[in-house]
């Protein structure tokens, strides 16, 4: 059996490990155009801030690959030739497969304004992007960040840590409006301001100005201009579909797969950001851009490719991230609607966060320790925890486990209810019942 995996992210690596757990003999080949292979994509944020060196992000050595009997090819897949069961590499050579996994991920939606191709306009998809940013980020110079979600803040924090003056442009009136509530956006914005970031609301970028062949400034819709040396954007991501477009594989916004991660071709699977996976619980196919679902999908795809039938069951999505230095956990359904700063989905985002059945909101805390609960009829359906994370782990388990909160539901909804205490007490009893 010959397994080929396109893409070297976490979905691909999880698939390799799963295949090897079942089939020690088959040939396993990973093809990726990223010369850096498998590294922690979320870790790039901490490389930008200087908390890590680049070499700390690489996750497998040559020795590890040898042990797994994994062949890594640094090449671009130019076509999938389904009838031949082969890939075309770099427009010339062929690589045959028996089972194929498409795990090519997603990439930043390109900025489409005049001047967007100038040197000094940057994004954060890959290791090479991070290296490019560090090369261009000069102490004392000015940067403009455009976009929303987690990546826009990672760029802001990274550029700030490198000593740049940062202007952050928001199209609407607040940060990450489809996931955070107004208060949470305000907490983040206040902290950004305290760090010296200049925020511009209702600011629509319409052009990037040139100076000596490079970025020299930006122009806003209202006619204002702002001189700057760097423009960093994160206006959303999109699954990389170029390769699959004309293959006859079923597509929607991503590659459509069933709960076994199989496409409409029984020998081709897809996992990670590129996959739009069917969720048997909700009956819908959704996009996620989160590390752990990508890992779980890759793992499930790998098992199925190696002949072990397994279903991927999407658990309540959650993400822990740092927003303006504040640890923030987002669990289950918490937001709604659209975000003007992001087209479609952002990195570190899950569409499920905006699937909000009727819910009642209870809030607690003040600026730096903040908690918001989304309360359904009997269960918690989502939570946002900013600052102190003591309760984020219990909340994650309670949302995922569908804990019946009837005994404390009324109390949670009283004005000024001590929701942290109520949750903590309830958790102690509940965890005993479910033996966590």
């Amino acid at each position: 059996m010959k397994y080929v995996i396109i893409g070297s992210g976490v979905a691909g690596m999880a698939a390799v490990e799963a295949i090897r757990s079942v089939d020690g003999a088959g040939e396993v080949v990973m093809v990726s155009e990223d010369p850096h292979g498998y590294y922690s994509r979320p870790g790039l944020a901490y490389y930008l801030t200087g908390e890590l060196l680049d070499k700390a992000l690489y996750l497998r050595t040559r020795e590890d690959a040898k042990k797994m009997k994994l062949t890594f090819l640094n090449a671009r897949v130019t076509r999938i030739l389904r009838t031949e069961h082969a890939l075309e590499l770099d427009g010339k050579s062929r690589l045959a497969y028996d089972k194929l996994l498409i795990a090519v991920g997603s990439r930043a939606v390109r900025l489409e304004v005049p001047g967007a191709k100038l040197e000094g306009v940057v994004k954060l998809d890959h290791m090479n992007d991070a290296k490019n940013i560090l090369k261009l980020a000069k102490r004392g110079r000015t940067a403009v960040v455009v976009g929303g979600g987690i990546t826009a803040l990672e760029l802001t924090e990274g550029l700030l840590a490198r000593g740049m003056k940062v202007h952050y442009l928001l199209r609407g009136d607040r940060y990450w409006s489809n996931v955070l509530d107004p208060r949470e956006s305000q907490i983040v914005e206040k902290r950004l301001k305290e760090e010296g970031v200049t925020l511009h609301h209702h600011a629509e970028l319409v052009g990037i100005l040139e100076k000596n062949g490079k970025v020299g400034g930006i122009r806003l819709e209202d006619g204002h201009t702002l001189p700057c040396d760097l423009v960093a954007y994160a206006i959303g991501i999109q699954p990389c579909l170029d390769l699959v477009k004309d293959t006859g594989l079923a597509l929607d916004r991503g590659v459509l797969v069933d709960e076994r991660l199989q496409t409409n071709d029984p020998d081709i699977y897809a996992a990670g950001d590129v996959a739009q996976a069917f969720d048997p619980l909700s009956g819908r196919s959704v996009l996620d851009s989160l590390w752990n679902p990508a890992r779980e999908q890759g793992h499930t795809a790998g098992l199925n490719m190696a002949g072990r039938r397994t279903a991927y069951l999407k658990s309540a999505p959650f993400n822990v991230t740092r927003l303006a230095g504040l640890t923030t956990t987002i669990i289950g359904a918490v937001g709604h609607g659209k975000d003007e700063d992001v087209l479609g989905i952002a990195r570190g985002d899950s569409e499920t966060w905006r699937d909000l059945p009727d819910a009642i909101v209870a809030q607690s805390g003040f600026d730096v320790n903040h908690m918001r609960l989304l309360i359904g009829e009997k269960t918690l359906i989502g939570a946002v925890v900013m600052g102190d994370q003591t309760l984020s782990w219990p909340l994650q388990k309670m949302v995922a486990g569908g804990a019946d909160i009837s005994p404390i539901r009324e109390k949670l909804m009283l004005p000024d209810a001590p929701i942290a205490d109520l949750i903590a007490d309830f958790w102690l009893g509940w965890r005993k019942q479910v033996a966590l």
Partner: protein, 88 residues
């Protein structure tokens, strides 16, 4: 930057926990490596988080560096001598 200092000062809050063990929640981990990078004796905490294994390393100082610095709240100290205290 002060963003990062927030975490440096955090590290000091965790004093040694003699009978504790570092336990990961792998579903939160993004394999960034900040834990391994900051472990004073070079334990590969990240690899433990990937494999969902507690850090049983005999040389672990239980200094808490990894727990405090992880940006995703993956790592917790769990007391290991709980059972000993219970009557048989």
């Amino acid at each position: 930057m002060s963003f990062i200092n927030v975490f440096k000062s955090d590290a000091k809050r965790h004093t040694s926990l003699a009978s504790g063990q570092v336990v990961p929640d792998p579903t939160r981990c993004v394999q960034c490596g900040i834990c391994s990078y900051n472990c004073p004796i070079g334990i590969d905490v990240r690899a433990h988080a990937w494999r969902n294994e507690p850090v049983k390393h005999s040389e672990c100082l239980t200094c808490g560096e990894c727990v405090a610095r992880c940006p995703r709240g993956v790592l917790r100290f769990v007391q290991t001598d709980l059972f000993k205290r219970r009557p048989a």
